[in-house]
């Protein structure tokens, strides 16, 4: 063990005696953290320029534009559609929105068009989302007005129909009463035939009586009048019958109308929408943040720490290994009875100690400069960072031992680091990688460590809940350790 500690002591002494290296190790991470924490201390996008164009700006268009300005987006009114689209290609604007002429609430046949540079993948979708939301808000407001109007009219129609239906019912009842009265009147009309028979028998008797000619004349006149009265009664009876028929028909029609109106009323009553909001946005959505923190800086912190571990671990250890290999003393190390594994382990411990110092500085800086509850997350974060650092250091050592010149080592380690970063969600979401490759990318230690740290810092996940991810990191450590050992063993004679 003495030789192991001696190697660690030697590495740290050499590192410490290079004042520039020590400065970089301690001060640079602190500066980076402070700069990033100050620069990203907000929760929105800044300096976004939106180009807008409309052949005729309506009040709705202007409202939408004001909405953009309220979100701190810079709005530039472009002279025409092509210039607006070109401004995105030239990078003068981040997005271009073309509004139809006289955008109104009465319905528009033309769509609102968005021109966006989708090659700027990380900002394009965030912007589309924000701008579409702003246009969507205006669109929803219009829809709300329209639907409110519609609902009011429906309510008024319903009330009117209800009123009409009751009037029709009353009319139907009245007609029924009229029919009944007519019936009664018809039944009360007396029959003139008996009276005529009696009068004719009385006339016959009067004719047989002498001196009763006057009486017979009177009876004749009466017979004539009774006959006229009978004719009149018949005519009245016919009229009553006609009235009865017509009123029956009218009642039937009114009943049919009443039934139809009742059907319409039932249909209107079946419409349960009473609020315009439920038509405009039938499914209400509300985005609830799962993380307590709200600043961009908080969300960037796990990524920043992983990048520090990645670059610090890989590049530092690869350079240390390369310098050791190219140092004059390498030959003497080789001819001492100290195993390769001891040298490898010592170099790992030296690198991790330097990284630990860096992270003590970083977390101290975080406690002072931000409100991040460092102490709440320090245990789980430390475990993740330690495992990630171990993996990246062994990766760096394998490269440092494998390649001959320091320049190549730096180039290769930076390339590998860039590749690992590229195939993580740091630049482009890994969901944009093809399905079959996604399964491989999921094992990228940057992805694994980044997810774990994300959960540890933002959601305060316990170490126990991180064990599956930590197991993958442990496996990665074993692979990289093996790689570093084989790399040292196979290349050490070729100096």
């Amino acid at each position: 063990m003495r030789n192991f500690f001696s190697c660690v002591q030697k590495d740290l002494r050499i590192f410490g005696r290079s004042k520039f290296s020590a400065f970089i190790a301690v001060v640079i991470p602190l500066v980076v953290v402070l700069l990033v924490s100050v620069a990203f201390n907000s929760n929105q996008l800044h300096g976004v320029r939106i180009g807008v164009y409309s052949p005729a700006y309506s009040s709705i268009t202007n409202n939408i534009i004001q909405g953009f300005e309220k979100q701190s987006f810079g709005v530039v009114k472009e002279p025409d559609k092509d210039t607006c689209a070109e401004s995105v290609r030239e990078g003068r604007n981040h997005i271009c929105v073309i509004f139809p002429g006289q955008l109104s609430s009465e319905g528009n046949s033309e769509a609102v068009e968005f021109y966006v540079d989708n090659s700027e993948i990380n900002i394009a979708y965030a912007l589309i989302d924000d701008v579409k939301t702003e246009v969507g808000v205006a669109s929803s407001a219009i829809s709300l007005d329209l639907v409110n109007n519609l609902i009011t009219h429906i309510q008024q129609a319903k009330k009117s129909i209800e009123n009409q239906a009751s009037a029709i019912t009353a009319a139907s009842t009245s007609i029924a009463s009229i029919s009944d009265a007519a019936n009664s009147a018809a039944s009360t009309l007396p029959s003139t035939s008996k009276t005529l028979t009696l009068l004719e028998s009385a006339r016959s008797e009067a004719a047989n009586l002498d001196g009763a000619e006057n009486i017979a004349d009177t009876i004749n006149k009466t017979i004539i009048e009774v006959k006229q009265l009978g004719t009149s009664f018949n005519s009245t009876s016919n009229n009553i019958k006609s009235l009865q028929n017509n009123s029956a028909l009218a009642k039937a029609r009114l009943d049919a109308l009443s039934s139809s109106l009742n059907g319409v009323l039932n249909d209107l009553n079946a419409v349960r929408i009473t609020e315009a909001g439920s038509v405009v946005e039938p499914i209400k959505t509300e985005i609830k943040p799962v993380a307590d923190q709200s600043k961009n800086w908080n969300f960037l912190l796990p990524t920043l720490l992983i990048l520090m571990v990645l670059f610090g671990g890989t590049v530092l250890s690869s350079i240390m290994a390369s310098r050791e290999k190219r140092s004059r003393a390498y030959f003497r190390n080789f001819i001492t009875p100290t195993s390769d594994f001891t040298f490898l382990l010592a170099m790992y411990v030296s690198s991790i100690l330097i990284l630990i110092v860096q992270f003590i500085v970083v977390f101290s800086g975080l406690m002072i400069a931000t409100n991040l509850p460092v102490l709440d997350v320090i245990a789980s974060s430390a475990v993740v960072l330690f495992m990630a650092a171990t993996a990246f250091i062994f990766l760096g050592l394998s490269m440092g031992h494998f390649f001959k010149s320091e320049e190549v080592v730096i180039l290769v380690s930076l390339s590998v680091v860039s590749l690992l970063v590229f195939f993580s969600s740091i630049i482009v979401p890994i969901e944009s990688v093809l399905g079959q490759y996604q399964q491989i990318v999921a094992f990228n230690p940057v992805v694994v460590a980044s997810n774990l740290l994300h959960r540890a810092i933002l959601f305060k996940a316990s170490i126990g809940s991180l064990i599956p991810g930590l197991s993958i990191l442990a496996l990665t450590v074993a692979v990289f350790l093996g790689l570093a050992y084989v790399s040292r063993k196979t290349t050490k004679r070729h100096i």
Partner: protein, 298 residues
């Protein structure tokens, strides 16, 4: 005492297409100083690095006490010390830190490391520079530090690659005395050098490496007698410049003579120019002296 401590048996070493050694056979006696002589690039360092198992021969074998050194490298590492031509230590560590570090790599116990380091510092005459960083040492001091580093574990065999190169005669003398002293303590010493006078002075046995092979080995006195030469330099010249290399030697000699003539011409030209310069300087002060007189008159 085993007379054949180390043996190289038909060693061939090839780096890619470059054949460096072609069937080298050599035996190194125990307790003696053995020198390996050869022109630059003849493979002396390769031979030395094979002795400690740093390089493996393409063919043949290297034996230590009749066992292949590659069978037990751990034992070889404990038994052999190696002082390199350029020095093999950490430049940014101090002399003492280097010795302590390598002492611990040789698994010397705690207090013994310090004691051994102090002993060696006195032995190589670096005790006054114990806390000086290696990068600040002079060339001679670096050689002595490297020697001390290679002796921390009291090796039975000490290999020294060009121990006196780049040293002035005084420092060279000091190092040679150290080597003799180390050998007197029972350590077998194997050295390479291109300064053949040293070999004459300290070696019990020399081996001459030429054309990728050992062409002569044995007692320096006997070799000198064999070639009728007054010193090893002349022996080496006779071996090195014979046969196919004669034309090359003649060409080199011609080039040397040409170079000497050119240098003489250059020296003469420089002399002439400096004389002219001196003459002009003598004239100018005289002119300047006259000028103030003119001003005074004005």
């Amino acid at each position: 005492m085993n007379t054949e401590l180390i043996q190289l048996k038909g060693v061939v070493k090839q780096f890619g297409k470059n054949l460096v050694l072609d069937g080298v056979s050599l035996s190194i006696p125990e307790g003696k100083i053995t020198g390996i002589i050869g022109a630059s690039g003849e493979g002396k360092t390769t031979v030395l690095k094979m002795l400690i198992g740093f390089y493996k021969p393409t063919k043949g074998d290297v034996l230590y006490l009749k066992r292949s050194v590659y069978e037990d490298l751990h034992h070889i590492n404990k038994t052999f010390g190696f002082a390199t031509e350029d020095g093999s230590f950490y430049e940014s560590l101090t002399v003492k830190e280097n010795l302590h570090h390598f002492g611990r790599l040789y698994k010397i116990q705690g207090p013994d490391v310090k004691a051994r380091a102090e002993e060696l510092l006195k032995f190589v005459g670096l005790d006054h520079a114990a806390n000086t960083k290696a990068q600040n040492l002079s060339v001679g001091m670096k050689k002595r530090l490297d020697l001390a580093c290679s002796m921390m574990h009291r090796p039975d065999v000490l290999i020294m690659d060009e121990p006196t190169s780049d040293l002035d005669p005084l420092l060279r003398e000091q190092i040679l005395n150290l080597i003799k002293h180390i050998n007197k303590q029972g350590t077998t010493v194997i050295i390479t050098t291109h300064i053949l006078e040293e070999m004459d002075e300290i070696c019990d046995k020399v081996a001459i490496l030429c054309n990728k092979k050992i062409v002569e080995e044995g007692d320096p006195l006997k070799i000198r007698a064999k070639y009728g030469a007054s010193n090893l330099n002349k022996v080496f010249e006779k071996i090195f410049w014979k046969g196919e290399r004669k034309a090359e030697r003649d060409r080199l000699r011609k080039e040397e003579e040409q170079m000497k003539e050119e240098m003489k011409a250059q020296e003469k030209e420089q002399e002439r120019q400096s004389k002219r310069k001196a003459h002009r300087q003598e004239e100018q002060p005289a002119a300047r002296k006259e000028e103030p007189d003119e001003e005074e008159e004005q």
